[in-house]
Amino acid sequence: MKNLSLYKLSTLFKTQYANMLEYRAEIALWAISGVIPFFMLNIWTNNGLNESINISNVMLSRYFLSAFFVRQFSVVWVVFTFEEDALLGRVSPYIIQPLHPFIRYFAQHIAEQITRFPFALFIAILFFIFNPQSVWIPSLLTIIISIFSTFFSFLIQFLMQSIIASFCFWTEKASSIEKLLFIPTLFLSGLLAPVASFPYYVKTWIYFTPFPYLIDFPATILSGNQTKIIEGILMQLLWIILFFFIFNKVWKSGTKKFTAMGL
């Protein structure tokens, strides 16, 4: 029994990976569209703005490179796929299958991340060529911890979007709710500016929200800047559990409301 579900999962991953490999060029472009952190780094260092927040040029460039990496491996688009599938009526056969439809989307995301890895690495190498002083090799432990926290960040975002995607059962345009969520993710996650640089009145409450754990926290670990690792991981796990319960609730009541669309 257990072997069978394992077999299902691995087949699912393999087919999705093959599918993603077909769209290499697309994924490469997507990787390029993640270069915003590098532009932000340019503004910070070019104007000496980082002196006031006590992060040196080198540490800041490592931070933004890490932020780029974390972002690359925590991008989630499940709401858009699910919305399309729901509107075109593809969800109906998925629901009948003895496999939760979101496992399929989950496999898609993981497969896409694997496809994306070489492109992200290539961009990082380019970055190092232009900024040779910022080259660093994190310790094995740091790498392992940051991989885990990046994966947790991915899980948080995947669950958040899955909750929104489940709203598709009630409304036809769930993706516009996602736009609403994207704004705080963009500005508070640390993609554009490290949370350390935020004013005091924001820092007092921001750590109680899921946002700094999406990019700032994993990126800070990977770049070797100071942070409270254990507290951060615990907060990430807390959000994952919370969102998982909410998702389950919404999904259950949503499938009861489900009216098939399309053919």
Binding site: I32, S33, I43, N46, L49, S52, K173, L180, F187, P199
Partner: protein, 264 residues
Amino acid sequence: MNIKKYLKVYYYFNYSSFSIELEYKINLFIDLVTSILGLIGSVFLLSIFFSNTNEIAGWTFNQALIIQGIYTILNGVTNTWFNPNLKEIVKHIREGTLDYVLLKPIDSQFWISFNKIAPTGLIEIVLGVFVLSYCFYLNDISFSISSLIFLIITLICSVSILYSLWFLISTTTIWFVKTWNATEVLRSFLYMGRFPMDSFSLSLRIFFSTVIPITFITTIPSEVLLGLSPEWKIILEVFVATTFLIISRRFWKFALRFYTSASS
């Protein structure tokens, strides 16, 4: 005669897309909240930059706010007119429905660029005008007819450049079929239009004024407003905008030669 026909068609385009969009009333509200939050977010980011300094690359906080205003207006224009249509181009080419567009007795570029309108973007334009007028007060800008005319000219040019960039990228769909992610790349580059171009290093400044001319899109109109822009910059912008428009037109005609429909 001809212009009349196009205006009439355009009126019907607007009429039908408005009625479609108004079906999703809650969406309008969500988009209003999204645009306000987005503006708050970028002002917040700007305030972080200025938290320990009064001036970045010669721009004060109040002056940089002008760029935010102009960016918000132009982003609204993109979301109202360009985005919804260009999404459709990709779909038309993928599904082969471009055939029907080409068969219509009307210019295909016109049809494909103006067929849809998303009224939610208009909210952003209003918001941007609001910010801009507040900036007038903040920066004590004395208003003259000539500066207003120059501002309008540069804004028209910015919109033309933006349109051409979006249209050029969408046109490449004819060869690559799926260009959705290429527009993402453009979007993330355009995002940098929120900041004064002088704050970037020289190499990036060159990149942003030649490869993707963001400098012309937001920074120059803001300089015009502040009276900092010499005439040659305005003339250059007009020149760049015209070039881009011509290229986008030529490129569309050229690309159509390679269009080989889809499905059966």
